[in-house]
C-alpha cells in the first residue's frame, strides 16, 4: 500500500554536498564523537585540571578545594535558574538584581543591630530598621521568615518578568533589563549603598564547612540541582518547557499553557537567584545591595559553556553543572597564576566565545549526520 520509497534511513544523508568536501565520514571518528558527546565539557575540564596540576600544584590544596566549592555552589544554583529561562529561548538579566534585593530584604528582616551613623539616611530607618536591628531581630522567627521573604522577593520579580513576557509579549531582553536596573537601583536606594551586617549566627552557619567540604551550601545546591533535573527531565512542566522553547506555536495548539509555563520559568529563575543570594550573603555575613552585580557574565557564560542554546529548546541541568564547574576552575586557576582581574576577564570572554563557536560547529555536525 505504501508507495513511499522507504529504504532504511541511512545515518548520513545521501545528497550531494559539493561544498562540504569529504567531511562526511560514514562512521564519525573519535574526535567528532567526543566533540558531540554530552560530556564534552566535563572531559575538557578534566583535561584542563590534568594539564594544570604540575603547573599549579596548589590547585589540590584542601583550602583551595574548599574555596572552589564555596564559589561553585551559589553560581550553580543561580545558573540553573537561568537554564530554565534559556530553554524557552528567553533570558533573565534581572537575576543579579534579584540577588541584591533578596540579600537586602532578608538582612532587613534578620539583622540584630544596625549602625545608626550609616543608616539614618536610609528610607527604611525608623520603619524597618532601628538601632535594635531589623524587623524580627532577636526573634526566633527571624531566620525562617527571613529566608521565606528572600525567596518571595525572587518569585515576585520573576513573576513580573514572566507576566510581561507572556501576556504583553515584550522581548525578554528589555523586560529583564528594566527590572535589573529597577531593582538593583532600589536595593542601593533602600540601604544608601551600605552593607547590612550582624545577621543571625544560624544564618551564617549555612555556608560554613561543617566537615571538610560539607556545608549547608553544598546540601542546598545539590538539592536544587537534583530537583531541577527531575523537574526538567521527568515532569509535565519540564516536557512542556522544552516544547514551548522549541516551538511555541505548535505547543499552544497542542494544548500547552504556554503563558503559564513561561511565567513559571521566570519565577523559578528568580527563586534560584534568591537561593543563591542566601548562599552568598551567608558567606559574606551581610546583606549587600551590590551582591551579584558582577556575576551576570559568569551565569550566562557558564550556561553557554555547558551547551545550553540561547535559541531555546536545548539544555540540561547536568550541562549547566559542567559549565559552571569549568568556569569556576578556570577562574580559580587564573587567580592562582596571579593574573590581573582584567586578564582574567579577557580569558573568560575568549572562553565563552570559543564555547559559542563550538556550539555552532556541533550543530553543523549534527545536521550533517541527520
Amino acid at each position: 500500500m505504501n508507495t513511499t520509497p522507504k529504504k532504511k534511513k541511512p545515518v548520513v544523508d545521501d545528497t550531494q554536498h559539493q561544498g562540504s568536501g569529504d567531511s562526511l565520514a560514514v562512521q564519525p571518528n573519535l574526535g567528532k564523537r567526543i566533540l558531540m558527546s554530552e560530556y564534552f565539557v566535563l572531559y575538557l575540564t578534566i583535561l584542563y585540571i590534568i594539564v594544570l596540576t604540575p603547573i599549579i600544584p596548589r590547585l589540590w590544596h584542601p583550602m583551595n578545594i574548599q574555596n572552589i566549592l564555596s564559589n561553585l555552589w551559589p553560581l550553580l544554583v543561580v545558573a540553573i535558574g537561568q537554564t530554565f529561562v534559556l530553554i524557552i529561548a528567553g533570558i533573565d538579566l534581572s537575576q543579579t538584581s534579584v540577588m541584591a534585593m533578596s540579600s537586602v530584604v532578608g538582612a532587613v528582616v534578620m539583622t540584630r543591630s544596625v549602625d545608626p551613623i550609616l543608616f539614618t539616611k536610609s528610607p527604611l530607618w525608623g520603619v524597618f530598621l532601628s538601632e535594635q536591628g531589623g524587623l524580627l531581630s532577636n526573634s526566633i522567627f527571624a531566620l525562617p521568615v527571613g529566608i521565606v521573604v528572600m525567596l518571595l522577593v525572587g518569585l515576585f520579580i520573576g513573576f513580573l518578568n514572566g507576566f510581561s513576557v507572556a501576556y504583553f509579549r515584550m522581548p525578554p531582553f528589555i523586560v529583564t533589563l528594566v527590572s535589573m536596573m529597577l531593582f538593583s537601583a532600589m536595593a542601593i536606594f533602600l540601604t544608601k549603598s551600605e552593607n547590612i551586617r550582624h545577621l543571625p549566627e544560624a544564618y551564617l552557619e549555612i555556608s560554613k564547612n561543617q566537615f571538610f567540604v560539607v556545608s549547608g551550601s553544598l546540601i542546598i545546591a545539590i538539592f536544587v540541582m537534583v530537583l531541577a533535573h527531575i523537574l526538567l527531565s521527568r515532569t509535565l512542566f519540564g516536557k512542556r518547557l522544552y516544547a514551548v522553547g522549541i516551538n511555541a506555536t505548535a505547543s499552544q495548539i497542542s494544548g500547552v499553557p504556554a503563558r503559564r509555563t513561561t511565567i513559571t520559568a521566570y519565577m523559578l529563575s528568580g527563586m534560584c537567584a534568591s537561593i543563591a543570594a542566601i548562599l552568598y550573603s551567608s558567606r559574606l555575613e551581610m546583606g549587600r545591595p551590590t551582591l551579584g552585580s558582577t556575576i551576570f557574565i559568569d551565569i550566562v557564560g557558564a550556561n553557554i559553556i555547558g551547551g545550553i542554546s540561547l535559541a531555546g529548546g536545548k539544555g540540561k541541568v547536568t550541562w549547566t553543572l559542567f559549565g559552571v564547574f569549568f568556569f569556576i576552575i578556570l577562574a580559580n586557576s587564573l587567580n592562582m597564576l596571579n593574573l590581573s582581574f582584567y586578564i582574567i576577564d579577557m580569558v573568560k570572554g575568549s572562553v565563552i566565545l570559543v564555547a559559542a563557536l563550538l556550539d555552532v560547529a556541533r550543530n553543523r555536525i549534527s545536521r550533517e549526520q541527520m
Binding site: M1, T15, R234, T249, S251, G255
Partner: protein, 516 residues
C-alpha cells in the same frame, strides 16, 4: 534543428526519500515561451530551484546553450543570464523603485563608493518607459500596490539583460489590464530572441500566451509539445488524471444524528461572516474554498487558537465561551493544522516527545506531576503501529528525519492518544505522497466508523468528493453552499467556490485550486 536555449536531462531529486522529481527531461527553445503547468507539489518549484542553483539535482544534467550548466548558487544562475520573477515578492519595501531595480549593480560615481543617483534614476526611468509602466523611480516600494510591485519585480529581472527568464505565477496580483500589458511585453521579449518559462495555474492564460507546454504530475513529465496539441481539457487530464478508484478507500456512511460540534453565527470582521455549521458523530464534513476563503481561519477559531468577535462554539451541546486550545482538547477536539512544520511538530525532537505532547497530562502522577514515560511509550507505540508509522526508534529518532507522510502520521498520532470525538484536519494530505495519502484516508474512515466527527479541510476537490458526507463551500469568508453526497460534482463545487452561479453558462476560469 531547433535552437535549444536550455535543457533538463533526466533530472531526479528526492526529499527525505520522497521523489520530488523523477527523470525529468524537456527543452526550452530560443525565442519561445514555454508553459510549465502542474498541481501543487508536482515539482515545478523544485525544478525552478534546481535551475536557479538553490538546489542540486541528485541525478541528471542541465544544459545551457548546449553546454553543461551546474549552478551552485543563485548568483551563478544570474551570471549565466537566467533571471527569476517569483510569485512571492522579493522587493525591499523600504527602498525606492530605482534602488530595488539596481540593487545588484548600483551605478557609482567614478571610483568612489557613492551612488550616482541621477544615472540610476535615468536608467530606471528608461526601463520603466520601455515597459509602459507609469511608476516614478523615486517612489518607495511600500507605497505601491501589489500589482505595481509585481511589475517592478518584472522590470528588475529585465534590467539585467538576461537571456532566459522565468516567471512563476506572475499574474496572481495583477489586474486584467496589467496582465494584458505583461503578456504583450512577454511576446515582445520573445520576438527579441529571449527564452521564457512561464509557470501558472491559470490555464487559460497559458493557452493564450505560450508556444510550447510541459505538464508535470508528481515529479514526472506527463506530456509536452506545441500548445496547439494541448487544449485545456487535455492539460487538466494530464495534470490531475488519475484513477480515482485506486486513490481513495471505499466510502461507507457512518453519520449519526448526534451533533458533536456546532458553531452558531461565528463572525470576525474581515475574516469570516456569520458561520453556522454542524458536525455529527461519524460524519466527515468537507470544507472547500480557495486560499483566503476563511476556512482555515474558521478552523482556528473553532479550536480556540484565534479569537472571534461574535458567535458561539458548542461541543456536544456544551458552549465553550472564549475557549483556548486547552479547553477544546479537554472537550475532545483535535486539530491537525495545515502547517506541519510550524504548527504541528517539534521538528528537532524525537517522535515520542511529539506523540506525547497533547496527552502528557493524562500520563502524569497527580501530585508530583511526574510523567509515566513507560506507560506513555507503550501507548505511543500502539498508536504508531495502528497508524503504520515507519520509524526506527520512537525515543531517539527526530521527527525531521521522517518522510512527509510519516511526519503527518506523527501529528495525527499525537491527537489519537486523546481518543478525540471531533477532529479538524486542515489539508492533511498536503505534501505527502500518494501511498501515505491513502493511509490518511483510511485513518479518517476508521475514526468515522468509531463515531468521531471529522471536519476535513482541503484544496483538492477530488479527495473531498471521495471522502465526505457533506461538503461546505467557502468563498470570501462566507459559506456559499452546502452539498450533500448525492449532489457532489467537481464542476459545481468549483463554480460555487469561484462565486459563479450554477446556471451561469459563462466560462469559468480554469484554475487549479491551490495556493502554492
Amino acid at each position: 534543428m531547433a535552437d535549444i536555449a536550455f535543457a533538463f536531462k533526466h533530472i531526479s531529486k528526492r526529499f527525505f526519500g520522497v521523489h520530488a522529481l523523477k527523470q525529468v527531461s524537456f527543452e526550452l527553445e530560443r525565442g519561445k515561451i514555454l508553459g510549465l503547468v502542474g498541481e501543487n507539489g508536482a515539482g515545478k518549484s523544485t525544478l525552478m530551484n534546481i535551475m536557479g542553483g538553490v538546489l542540486q539535482p541528485e541525478v541528471g544534467t542541465l544544459l545551457l546553450r548546449g553546454e553543461t550548466y551546474r549552478p551552485l548558487s543563485p548568483l551563478d544562475a544570474s551570471c549565466a543570464g537566467i533571471e527569476f520573477v517569483h510569485q512571492e515578492l522579493n522587493l525591499f519595501t523600504n527602498l525606492t523603485v530605482a534602488e530595488n531595480i539596481s540593487i545588484n549593480s548600483f551605478p557609482c560615481m567614478r571610483r568612489t563608493p557613492f551612488i550616482n543617483k541621477r544615472t540610476m534614476h535615468q536608467a530606471c526611468r528608461k526601463l520603466l518607459e520601455s515597459l509602459n509602466l507609469d511608476i516614478a523611480p523615486t517612489m518607495l516600494v511600500e507605497n505601491l500596490s501589489p500589482g505595481e510591485r509585481q511589475l517592478v519585480e518584472i522590470a528588475k529581472a529585465l534590467s539585467t539583460d538576461a537571456d532566459i527568464l522565468l516567471f512563476d505565477e506572475p499574474t496572481t496580483s495583477l489586474t486584467a489590464k496589467d496582465t494584458e500589458n505583461l503578456f504583450s511585453l512577454l511576446r515582445h521579449l520573445r520576438d527579441a530572441g529571449k527564452s521564457i518559462i512561464y509557470i501558472s495555474h491559470i490555464l487559460a492564460d497559458v493557452q493564450k500566451l505560450v508556444d510550447d507546454v510541459v505538464i508535470l504530475r508528481d515529479g514526472e513529465v506527463m506530456g509536452g509539445g506545441p500548445i496547439g496539441d494541448f487544449p485545456i481539457k487535455r492539460m487538466i487530464n494530464l495534470m490531475v488524471g488519475r484513477e480515482i478508484n485506486h486513490l481513495f478507500p471505499e466510502k461507507t456512511p457512518y453519520a449519526t444524528d448526534t451533533v458533536i460540534l456546532e458553531s452558531q453565527n461565528i463572525s470576525e470582521p474581515g475574516i469570516v461572516r456569520d458561520i453556522s455549521i454542524k458536525v455529527h458523530a461519524g460524519e466527515i464534513v468537507g470544507m472547500f474554498g480557495l486560499m483566503g476563503s476563511g476556512r482555515t481561519e474558521f478552523a482556528r477559531m473553532l479550536f480556540g487558537v484565534d479569537s472571534y468577535h461574535e458567535g458561539e462554539v458548542l461541543v456536544q451541546g456544551k458552549p465553550l465561551p472564549r475557549h483556548k486550545p486547552e479547553q477544546s482538547i479537554r472537550n475532545g477536539m483535535a486539530f491537525i493544522t495545515e502547517n506541519r512544520r510550524e504548527e504541528g511538530l517539534l521538528m528537532d525532537y524525537p517522535i515520542i516527545e511529539n506523540i506525547g505532547l497533547v496527552s502528557l497530562p493524562d500520563y502524569c502522577a497527580k501530585v508530583s506531576r511526574l510523567v509515566d514515560s513507560k506507560r506513555l511509550f507503550r501507548r505511543a507505540n500502539e498508536v504508531g503501529t495502528s497508524l503504520k508509522l515507519k520509524c526506527n526508534n520512537l525515543k531517539l529518532q527526530k521527527v525531521k528525519s521522517l518522510s512527509g507522510g510519516n511526519q503527518q502520521k506523527v501529528v495525527i498520532g499525537k491527537w489519537l492518544l486523546k481518543d478525540p470525538s471531533l477532529l479538524i484536519l486542515d489539508e492533511p494530505t498536503r505534501g505527502i505522497d500518494v501511498g501515505a495519502k491513502y493511509e490518511v484516508y483510511l485513518i479518517m474512515e476508521r475514526l468515522a466508523s468509531e463515531g468521531s466527527g471529522i471536519l476535513f479541510i482541503s484544496s483538492e476537490v477530488e479527495e473531498l468528493i471521495a471522502m465526505c458526507d457533506r461538503i461546505i463551500v467557502w468563498s470570501q469568508g462566507e459559506i456559499m453552499r452546502e452539498f450533500v453526497r448525492d449532489e457532489f460534482s467537481q464542476e459545481s463545487i468549483m463554480r460555487i467556490a469561484f462565486r459563479q452561479e450554477l446556471d451561469d453558462d459563462a466560462d469559468i476560469e480554469v484554475a487549479t485550486y491551490g495556493n502554492e
